[in-house]
């Protein structure tokens, strides 16, 4: 029996040394046994590597940044949809999620299905809200404070012991050992991501993550824990390994049950030497290392697409422990004609 054909639009094709999740998500979709995915890549920049990966991205379009106004973005999506008949859209970048969540109903009316967290779920897990989130759901979190100006830096030592982490609201995190370094990183981060900038207690331990999928009714459809084995200077995992860690899975299940999380998520935790877990971040989307979960037996992108289409999805019950990923860089060869076509016509 031939597989159902689906046109799936994907963002986050920036498969760089700070990779977006687009390409790993596509790899999972291409391996689906339930459907045949035709991938419509949506790119913000014309040098996002995924655009040129013709074995993975069947057609690529340039789209405007959400910061240029959601109306512009939606108009562009309507144009693309008219040509490509998109079945499912998977946005993969933190900074665009708000716009897509706000437009979810409009997208649905157009016939484009999504499977995103609710606005409330998205807002309450913001880094700046982590202390109240931890309190509400009974999760151990590091002390943190959101600051919007330099005035607060001098008195940080009343609340925190140095070093502290200085974090952007979407991306970036730096370890600062004194107020001068906090001020330097504050300037760097606020110039790029705006305010607030988050000051967070530094918890010493091993960085462990879980990629998970919630069905929006409190059920955990998928959950795979991983330890970063090699971390780049940008704090990104360059290698990781799946773990047999029941506590991490249980923490994830509890959180998904309590929040009735809908969609993909990544829980970032620190495991201390006395085996306590601190939640340091909750990312409201599939992470860039999701292909490790696919390889370990949980095809999370495929399950997400099925749920977006209202299909019944049974929770995964197992995964392989000791599966590893190792990133690598690779020079794709393109041609100026491709670059020209994308730059002039906005598609490739």
């Amino acid at each position: 029996m031939s597989k159902r054909k689906l046109n799936i639009a994907i963002t986050g094709l920036n498969n760089t040394d700070n990779p977006g999740p687009g390409i790993p998500v596509i790899r999972g979709l291409k391996e689906s046994e339930a459907f045949e995915a035709r991938i419509i890549g949506l790119a913000y920049e014309n040098l996002e590597p995924g655009i040129y990966m013709k074995d993975l991205v069947d057609k690529a379009y340039q789209i405007p940044y959400p910061s240029s106004g959601s109306q512009n973005l939606m108009q562009r999506l309507e144009q693309i949809h008219a040509r490509e008949s998109i079945d499912v859209l998977i946005p993969n970048l933190d900074a665009e999620l708000y716009t897509f969540m706000m437009s979810a109903r409009k997208l649905e009316e157009m016939g484009i299905h999504t499977f995103l967290p609710t606005l409330e779920q998205f807002e309450e897990r913001h880094k700046a809200n982590l202390p109240s989130y931890g309190e509400k759901y009974g999760i151990r979190v590091p002390a943190s404070m959101a600051i919007i100006g330099h005035e607060a830096i001098a008195s940080l030592s009343d609340e925190f012991e140095y070093p502290v982490l200085v974090k952007g609201k979407f991306y970036d995190a730096y370890l600062a050992y004194n107020p001068e370094q906090v001020a330097m990183y504050y300037n760097k981060i606020s110039a790029k991501w705006g305010v607030p900038v988050i000051i967070q207690e530094f918890i010493k331990g091993t960085e462990v993550n879980v990629v998970a999928l919630g069905d929006g009714k409190g059920n955990t459809i998928a959950a795979v824990p991983m330890r970063k084995q090699y971390i780049t200077d940008k704090g990104k995992a360059w290698s990781g390994i799946t773990l047999a860690d029941g506590q991490m899975i249980e923490l994830t299940r509890q959180l998904i049950t309590q929040t009735r999380w809908r969609g993909g998520m990544e829980l970032e935790m620190i495991k201390t030497s006395d085996e306590k877990y601190y939640m340091i971040e909750i990312n409201p989307r599939i992470p860039a290392w999701v292909y490790l979960a696919v390889a370990a037996g949980q095809n999370i992108p495929e399950a997400l697409v099925k749920m977006a289409l209202g299909m019944d999805v049974q929770p995964f019950s197992t995964y392989q422990v000791g599966k590893m990923f190792i990133r690598y860089s690779y020079d794709l060869i393109g041609d100026i004609k491709q670059f020209e076509k994308l730059s002039i016509q906005g598609e490739l």
């Binding site: 091993t206 991983m226 330890r227 084995q229 990781g240 390994i241 773990l243 047999a244 422990v321 000791g322």
Partner: protein, 98 residues
């Protein structure tokens, strides 16, 4: 002057469950994701711990296999066990009642 060694024989020396020890001496802890490479002696000790051998039994078994002073062997094994503990390869001792 004869020196006197004073040490405490560890109470719990059970290897963590699920620790994988391969023939090559490669050890994988699936709970932490950490891996280690052991020489033949280290691998032997880990296998004896996995078989729930007590400290005294390990000493006796290894005395039969290696030409070594008992006191040197005991100290070396205790050192090795403390390394295993620090890497989280042994089960945690239950907290004392007091």
């Amino acid at each position: 002057m004869q020196s006197t060694y004073i040490y405490f024989i560890p109470g719990a020396m059970k290897l963590q469950k699920n620790i994988a020890i391969s023939e090559s001496g490669f050890v994988f802890n699936p709970g932490s994701g950490e891996s280690f490479i052991l020489n033949r002696t280290g691998k032997n000790i880990l296998e004896l711990l996995r078989d729930n051998k007590m400290f005294e039994e390990i000493i006796e078994l290894m005395m039969g296999e290696y030409e070594v002073d008992r006191i040197v062997l005991e100290k070396s094994i205790l050192d090795f066990i403390s390394v295993l503990k620090s890497y989280g390869l042994l089960e945690k001792e239950p907290a004392s009642a007091n």
